[in-house]
Each structure stands twice: as C-alpha cells, then as structure tokens.
Amino acid sequence: MLPVSYYIYLSLALFIIGVIGVLTRRNVIIILMSIELILNAVNINLMAFSRMWGSVDGQIFAIFIITDAAAEAAVGLGIIIAFFRNRPTVLADEMDLLKW
C-alpha cells in the first residue's frame, strides 16, 4: 500500500473542489451534488486510515456516512421539488423569499 499521505492529499483535493462547487454555483441541484462529493472525500480518508491500522472500524463509519448521504439527498431533493412547485426556479440566489 502507498503511504497514507497520498490518500489524504487526494481526499483534500476532492474536498476543496466540492467546497468551491458549493460556494460558487447557482444551481441548487449542482450544490447538492457538490455536497455528495465532499462526503465522498471524507470516505476516502476513513478508508485509508482503516487500511493503515488494519481494522474495519473506519469502514463501518464510512457505511454510516453513506447512509447519511442517502438521507440527505432524499430530503434535499424533496425540498427542491416542493420549492419548484411554488416558484419555478432552481437558482440559489433567486430563492430570496426570506431575504430582507
């Protein structure tokens, strides 16, 4: 196996790309996809450390994170559909009903 630091740098790169996606895009669906990318980057870290210590506890944590990602995607997309029914837009900066 390669040194763990390689995996940490890969995970960091994916995490930063996901953060850039969340902060800069206007389309809400792409923002949700970037959040999935961030959670995925975390999973790479957990898996690398699990391999490093030779124990599967990290993989169990990754299973819980995948469960969380599924729940978040279901509820988030439900919110998007409910919002789209009231105001036909998917752009984050046009969702300003609560803005003063």
Binding site: M1, L2, P3, V4, S5, Y6, Y7, I8, Y9, L10, A13, L14, I16, I17, G18, V19, I20, G21, L23, T24, R25, R26, N27, I29, I30, L32, M33, S34, E36, L37, N40, N43, I44, M47, R51, M52, W53, G54, V56, Q59, I63, I66, T67, D68, A69, A70, A71, A73, A74, L77, G78, I79, I80, I81, A82, F84, P88, V90, L91, D93
Partner: protein, 168 residues
C-alpha cells in the same frame, strides 16, 4: 507495489479530473454524469485499499441509488431556463479564492503537524477477509448505531414523501 501505484494514480487522476469537470459544466445532466465518474473512481480507490465490501456498497448505493434520484429530479425540474443563465454567482471569485486558501492552510497544517502520526511510512498489515469482518463488527460492536441509522433512513423517507406531496 508497482501495480498498486499505477492503479492509485489512474483512479486519483480520474476522480479529480471528473470532479473539476462536474463543478464547471453548465448543464446539470453533464454534471451528474461526471459525478458518477468520480464516484466510480472512488470505488476503485476503495478496491485498491482492499475494502471490497465498501466498493460494492459505493457502486450499488451511490451510483445506482443516489445518482438515479438526482437524474430523476433533474428531469422533473425544468432546467431549460437555467442552462442559458450565468453559471456562477456574484461572489464566486472571493468564494473560490477563500476555498483555495482553506486548502493551502490544510496542506500547511498537515505538513507541519502530520509527522506526529508517522503517516509517511507505508503500513505492512494486511486486511482480514473484508465482508465477513465488516458484518461481524457492524452487528456486534456497532449494533446500536446501526439501528439508529435505520431510524434515520425511515425518518428521511417519510420526510421526502411528505415534502414532495402535492397536498399535505
């Protein structure tokens, strides 16, 4: 050892390249396809780390489940207007720059403090048979969190149904 690093670099370049393309594409369907590519590359990384069970879970659950949900919602939500408009919001330059600063900060912290954990040395331990071990640990040591996760999924399912219902 040589095959290991070839596989790692292949999947890493595929994952990072697809992720960059995902964030920069205008059309949401193209973004979804590139995200699927990133998730498959990550599954390859898992396999290279000898986590066979998570490799299969990643493909079935992420690529087969969550991404189908995303593509379905993209189909339901009319995106023709959004395709012709600006991709990035007004504060995107500041936000992107700050995200890159965050990444640089993380690299500096890792370089200066990571030596305490001996991360550069490659470990010699081999993993035990994977799916069997995951099942044993999941149902013995982490049984209560497993049940709580199932309740979380139930709540999310009811929440999504109620949220997408036309009349409550």
């Amino acid at each position: 050892m040589m095959l290991d690093s070839i596989l790692f670099y292949f999947f890493a370049v595929l994952a990072v390249g697809s992720a960059i393309l995902m964030v920069t594409r205008r059309n949401a369907v193209h973004s979804a396809v590139f995200l699927i590519s990133t998730l498959l590359a990550t599954a390859g990384i898992f396999l290279q780390l000898q986590a066979e069970f998570l490799f299969v879970v990643q493909i079935i659950l992420y690529v087969g489940g969550i991404m189908v949900l995303f593509v379905f919602v993209i189909m339901l939500v009319n995106l023709d207007v959004a395709v012709r408009q600006m991709k990035f919001n007004r504060q995107s330059w500041v936000a992107g720059l700050l995200a890159l600063v965050l990444g640089g900060l993380a690299i500096v912290v890792f370089r200066s403090g990571g030596g305490a954990f001996n991360l550069m040395a490659s470990p010699v331990t081999t993993m035990p048979p994977n799916a069997e071990q995951v099942g044993t640990v999941l149902f013995q040591k982490y049984f209560l969190p497993f049940e709580i996760a199932s309740i979380l999924l139930l709540v999310a399912m009811i929440g999504a149904v109620v949220m997408a219902k036309r009349k409550i």
